[in-house]
């Protein structure tokens, strides 16, 4: 592991920080054949996310969504992982950094430690653990799937080193271990060091230091977490009782000028408080009350508004718009008393709670600030990495890129986008390692099992409490052992952990198993992992069957353990009878077409096209209109004051001049077939509408969204009523007009957050503030009123919100059911609204009414393209990504990626980041020279085929056709493996591989027949 020669110098990217962002960046680079050294100062990777219980908006268990990513990152052949490691020195420049890395001694040999826990059991004081509420979890490795999967020793605390060494059966403890200094040459550096959470101790009125029942959000996550100190039981720290009433207080340490606090918005806290409240409600329903005290509810992300509505309407979470002054502890009852002023009242209300959760924000740690100094990169006034509006992940120093929290406070999906973007930008600095020279994991030859009698192994996961908390996993394993042909049956804990996989491999070899059943979670996320284990054990990978005990049983029937136990037996029985009929299959492998189709020529489309073309890929850029530019071409300035027009002119110039980009304007996509690496897309080009077919390997959708123009508040009827986009142009083109105004009113959420368009348009709060500040700059005597529902100036936008208030902009809140009213005569507009604090009507005679109308999905585009490409959409017609948390750039159809406002409303800066991320994801997919399409395709038995055309009509992808020999032919390279033709064929001439009729029938037999 310490051998330097394994790395081709200067082809390496150093990724600093092993949280979700760093892992994503490392995996993207590795997938695109770049060597990566991933370092983390902690003893295992995973960062903050591994401490969370569940994540919004699906409320999935965090470890479940994260662990496939974690173990992949240690498995990837291009990634070298160094835990407990930090950068000591940096020299050189982009393409040629020379670094000194220091690895602290672990006193345990990673290769021999089996994480059995004997050292911890016998000498708990010598084994390191993460302090906080997480103390002394059973394995003391912070979480069961920790990577590296090994303990670490705190030698200072160890009194009898010899005894400690002896207790380790694996001989893995090395007391003479020392700090290691290592030189590394790297072409580029990706910074993903994350952030630390605000310590609320200084805000003494909230009582965090004095009262154990006042906890931070992270502490609350640990209490809810199955791997936390209470094993997932929700109990009050002071007395171990289950709380009946919990309050959340928002913006603790954020949006504040208090010493040590941050003046920016931490962006993620509103969502995590809603999530924690929903998860609490899901678990305890009516036996628990939840209230969130907040200033502005900032659910500005994709579909987050719907999550907020669910919290309010479906779960009955009380949202109180008020910031409490203090939390008082009543020593008699033990309860916590909160006094607050409701937002529309001036009478105080006192309410008692059993627990209070402080939604603490994020800040950059001192360590990371020091690292920035070492690296010579500039930080902004809040100590985050300084980056450019038009180059969002590039730091001030070429070759060094920042992503995630270190760039600005943000949530997981946006971290994932930036991580992919940073990985892509880093990869530009280094050469790709050619595929032929890389080491490919060698699997042993496959054993021929065709003549062997059935020997089935069943492995049952408890998945922590996910399965084991509802049913008796050991009991289920015992039961499975009684089923026919089952040779071995075991309970294996977390089946996806490294240990368990190794155990499965060993048992297969030892018992000479030839079929395997995993009683675990979803094959969608975990099948590949178990298939690889079979391959390592010398079996064909299609000889495994997964019974989804978690998603389809213990998650949905968590409140009926008896029924769930019976269902678990049935699921296992079905898998056992079905796996008995599984056959070895061969994957279909084809050559890869490496050309790129980008649909949409706005800021996102052009950035993706240029990124890919600069990397040497041929790009077709199809734009529906007659010119490039999209919505950004109409925008003049960003909130930060950047000149958008100059940027766009340059971008269009570079795109049209690029040798490897072919721009096709007036282009309408009309048909599409194929697979990633071998797509064919038909385009008709106006005005003649002639047809052209493009062959390409990946498709990136950057079709944008439309500026909304709702018919409200006299928009389009009165010359003094305009949108923010119109105002942007008036300010630039007719500044004299602005100099004459006395009163300007802006109304937020016009056409957003309403029944017709339920989501937040994300960009409008900042654009209103941008225009308000520009109006006041031209005309300091003007009065500007902004009527809003929640000001959603997330991240550093909050600075501009503060400046706007400082300059005298008056912000007035309105309720969705009491909208402002506008009356007009020719000369003047009268805007009437209610001031909730004064409880009085205000009437402003305005010279100008500016409506923040935001975005609306380009339904025509997404509808047509969604149908042609088979891409699902959200209810409000944006493209729906593959996984809203962890894969925000990938679409559900392999080979398709999304960038820009076709995904969801976002700023130019965010569009560019996603464009670079899409380029990175596409590059990773195109890195291979061949394509493996798997083995799950439809196969026709020509003798049985009656050429009835039913399959031809039924196939949603138009693949089957009747060939010259008169029977249906299905091209395995094009077949999606959906199985519709197999189900429809009246002659049963079509079988779907891995899901053949006899296997499905066997499942039914297993389900319906009682086994003695």
């Amino acid at each position: 592991m310490q051998d330097q020669n394994t790395f081709k110098q200067n082809h390496t990217v150093l990724v600093i920080g092993g949280g979700v962002g760093g892992i994503r960046a490392a995996m993207d680079l590795a997938e695109s054949n770049r060597d990566v050294v991933l370092i983390d100062k902690a003893s295992s990777i995973g960062g903050l996310m591994t401490q969370l219980d569940r994540t919004f908006p699906t409320n999935n268990c965090d470890l479940c969504t994260l662990s496939p990513n974690l173990s992949e990152s240690s498995r990837q052949l291009h990634i070298e992982l160094l835990a407990m490691t930090q950068v000591a020195e940096v020299q050189g420049e982009a393409g040629d950094f020379k670094l000194k890395l220091i690895t602290e001694p672990r006193y345990i040999d990673l290769d021999t430690c089996t994480a059995c826990g004997d050292c911890f059991k016998n000498f708990p004081e010598c084994v390191r653990f993460t302090p906080g509420l997480d103390h002394r979890a059973p394995t003391c490795m912070r979480y069961p799937q920790a990577i590296p999967h090994a303990f670490s020793i705190d030698i200072e605390k160890c009194k009898d080193i010899d005894a400690l060494v002896k207790v380790c059966k694996a001989d893995a403890i090395i007391p003479e271990d020392t700090q290691k200094v290592r030189d590394l040459e790297a072409g580029a550096i990706v910074l993903a060091p994350g952030a630390e959470v605000f310590d609320p101790g200084k805000l003494d009125s909230l009582g965090h230091a004095a009262n154990p029942d006042v906890v931070t959000s992270l502490e609350y996550e640990r209490i809810l977490s199955a791997s936390g100190p209470t094993q997932g039981e929700l109990i009050r720290p002071s007395d171990g009782k289950q709380p009946q009433k919990i309050a959340w207080i928002q913006c603790v340490g954020s949006r504040s000028l208090h010493e040590g606090a941050a003046s920016y918005c931490s962006s993620a806290c509103c969502m995590f408080a809603l999530k924690e409240a929903i998860v609490t409600k899901e678990r305890f329903q009516d036996s628990i009350e939840t209230a969130i005290f907040f200033m502005d509810m900032r659910t500005f992300g994709k579909d987050y508004e719907l999550y907020l509505n669910r919290a309010k309407d479906d779960y009955g979470i009380r949202l109180v718009r008020s910031r409490p002054h203090s939390v008082f502890h009543d020593p008699e009852t033990g309860s916590l008393s909160i006094i607050y002023t409701p937002h529309d009242s001036n009478t105080n209300v006192t309410e008692d709670f059993d627990m209070v959760v402080l939604s603490t924000g994020f800040k950059v740690s001192r360590d990371v600030q020091d690292l920035a100094v070492k690296l010579g990169i500039e930080l902004n006034e809040h100590h985050f990495a300084k980056t450019d509006s038009f180059n969002p992940v590039a730091t001030s120093k070429p070759g060094i890129y920042a992503c995630g929290m270190f760039e600005s406070p943000k949530d997981i999906p946006e971290t994932m986008v930036q991580a992919s973007a940073a990985a892509f930008c880093a990869s530009k600095n280094i050469r790709m390692v050619s595929e032929s020279s890389e080491a490919v994991e060698e699997f042993p030859p496959e054993r021929d099992v065709s003549r062997e009698p059935l020997k089935i192994g069943v492995f049952v996961c408890d998945c922590g409490l996910n399965i084991g908390g509802v049913i008796n996993a050991q009991g289920l394993a015992d039961y499975s052992g009684t089923l026919p042909d089952v040779k071995v049956s075991e309970m294996i804990g977390h089946g996806c952990s490294r240990d368990a996989l190794a155990r499965i491999q060993t048992v297969i070899a030892k018992e000479n198993l030839n079929r395997v059943v995993i009683g675990g979670c979803s094959p969608r996320t975990h099948e590949t992992k178990f298939q690889d284990t079979l391959r390592r054990a010398g079996l064909n990978k299609y000889l495994v069957e997964i019974a989804n005990l978690r998603d389809q049983n213990t998650w949905v029937h968590f409140d009926q353990p008896d029924g769930a136990s019976i269902k678990a037996q049935e699921l296992i029985r079905m898998a056992v009878t079905s796996v008995a009929l599984s056959r070895p299959l061969t994957d279909n492998i084809f050559p890869m077409n490496k050309d790129v189709l980008v649909v949409g020529g706005g800021v996102a489309g052009m950035n993706t096209a240029l990124s890919m073309a600069d990397m040497g890929f041929k790009v077709y850029l199809a734009e529906r209109s007659s010119e490039l530019g999209g919505v950004a071409k109409k925008i003049r300035k960003t909130l930060e004051g950047d000149d958008v027009q100059a940027y766009m002119t340059d971008l269009i110039e570079r795109t049209t001049q690029h040798d490897r980009i072919e721009v096709i304007t007036n282009a309408f996509i009309v048909d599409h077939t194929g697979m990633p690496g071998m797509f064919k897309t038909g385009i008709q080009i106006a005005p003649q509408m002639f047809y052209r077919q493009i062959t390409h390997g990946v498709t990136i959708l950057a079709t944008g969204a439309l500026p909304n123009q709702p018919k409200e508040y006299l928009l389009g009827e009165h010359e003094k009523v305009m949108t923010q986009l119109d105002m942007d142009a008036v300010i630039e083109d007719q500044p004299d007009k602005i100099k004459d105004v006395t009163n300007v009113v802006m109304i937020q959420c016009v056409g957003s957050r309403c029944p017709e368009n339920p989501n937040c348009s994300r960009i409008c709060c900042q654009s209103a503030i941008k225009n308000a500040l520009r109006v006041l700059e031209l005309n300091p005597a003007a009065r500007v009123f902004i009527l809003y529902r929640d000001m959603r100036t997330y991240g550093f936008q909050e600075d501009y919100y503060k400046t706007a208030r400082e300059k005298g902009v008056i912000f007035v809140r309105y309720e969705a059911d009491a909208l402002p009213e506008v009356q007009a005569d020719d000369a003047q507009l009268e805007v009437k609204f209610n001031d909730p604090i004064l409880k009085r009507k205000v009437s402003v005679y305005a010279d100008c009414l500016c409506l923040s109308t935001g975005f609306i999905a380009d339904e025509e585009s997404t509808e047509d393209l969604g149908r042609i490409f088979h891409i699902p959409k959200t209810n409000d017609n944006y493209f729906l990504e593959d996984h809203i948390k962890l894969r925000p750039v990938d679409l559900s159809v392999p080979g398709f990626f999304v960038a820009g406002t076709a995904h969801a409303p976002k700023t130019i800066r965010e569009c560019i980041a996603q464009a670079q991320a899409a380029a990175g994801r596409a590059q990773a997919l195109l890195a291979k020279d061949t394509l493996n399409l798997g083995a799950v395709v439809a196969r026709v038995e020509k003798e049985k085929c009656a050429a009835c055309l039913i399959c031809v009509r039924a196939c949603p992808f138009n693949i089957p056709f009747i060939n010259a020999d008169g029977y249906s032919q299905i091209d395995p390279a094009q077949c999606h493996g959906c199985g519709i033709c197999a189900a429809e064929c009246p002659a049963k001439a079509i079988q779907l591989m891995q899901y053949e009729d006899d296997q499905i029938m066997a499942k039914l037999t297993g389900l319906l027949e009682r086994v003695n």
């Binding site: 805000l203 949006r255 910031r323 409490p324 002023t341 937002h343 001036n346 105080n348 004064l838 205000v842």
Partner: protein
């Protein structure tokens, strides 16, 4: 009138809020309000006169100067500073209230505070009870003597007035020497046991400053200067304010 709409029309005029902003460092952050209500939820005067700190600031921000310069609520505020202590924007609401008080004609300000301030201006004791320097001296000496005799363990205890060169200058709320003289003693005992070298001042011994609560700038400055000068003249190093 509360029921009528607030009409905003024509050019912005500079108002009371702008005047106060001029007086304060960083303008007292008076424009920064997020209307979160933290101030009101901790304010003992919330709800009195249908007013609270947030509403008061809001009215100032909307230029409702007539209302905020006439509401008696400003006299119900205790200037305790609980509002600014938690305000995320560190808005100096107490200063806004103070300046609103100062805008009242002196004779219309609340009688109790006004009377106490005027008493303090009668002599150099600066006592809101109007107690003279001689009366204070008499009470201190009388009480001290009584305790030295009754409690032999404190026979060496001192309560000096105008002791030149003492380290600590101590002031004293004037209610005790007038109505509860025994209440003076516990602090003397503590200082005695701690071996502290301290003194009262003959001038400016009274700790309360009602003129400040009256928002009478000249008068409260006079009182503060009187007591500070006495401490300086005696060569004391540390001013111990007991109020």
């Amino acid at each position: 009138m509360p029921g009528e709409p607030i009409i905003i029309k024509g050019k912005k005029k500079s108002g009371f809020l702008d005047t106060v902003k001029e007086l304060l460092p960083e303008g007292g952050n008076l424009n920064l309000c997020l209307t979160c209500g933290a101030c009101s939820s901790g304010c003992p005067a919330t709800g009195l006169e249908d007013m609270d700190p947030r509403k008061f600031l809001r009215m100032a921000a909307l230029g409702m100067d007539k209302e905020i310069l006439s509401t008696p609520w400003v006299w119900m505020c205790t200037l305790c500073q609980r509002c600014i202590y938690v305000c995320p924007m560190q808005i100096d609401i107490p200063q806004l209230v103070y300046n609103a008080r100062a805008a009242w004609p002196r004779e219309e300000r609340p009688k109790g505070i006004l009377g106490s301030c005027d008493m303090a201006l009668r002599n150099d004791s600066c006592s809101a009870m109007g107690t003279s320097e001689e009366d204070f001296q008499f009470v201190v000496e009388d009480v001290l003597e009584e305790y030295q005799e009754a409690q032999p363990e404190f026979k060496d205890m001192a309560a000096p007035i105008d002791k030149q060169g003492a380290e600590f200058f101590l002031n004293q709320n004037s209610r005790e020497p007038v109505t509860e003289p025994d209440e003076l003693v516990p602090l003397w005992k503590i200082l005695h046991r701690a071996g502290v070298d301290w003194t009262y001042g003959n001038k400016g011994w009274a700790a309360e400053n009602y003129c400040m609560f009256l928002a009478d700038d000249q008068a409260w400055e006079h009182i503060t200067r009187t007591t500070a000068k006495q401490a300086d003249d005696l060569g004391c190093k540390i001013f111990l304010n007991t109020e």
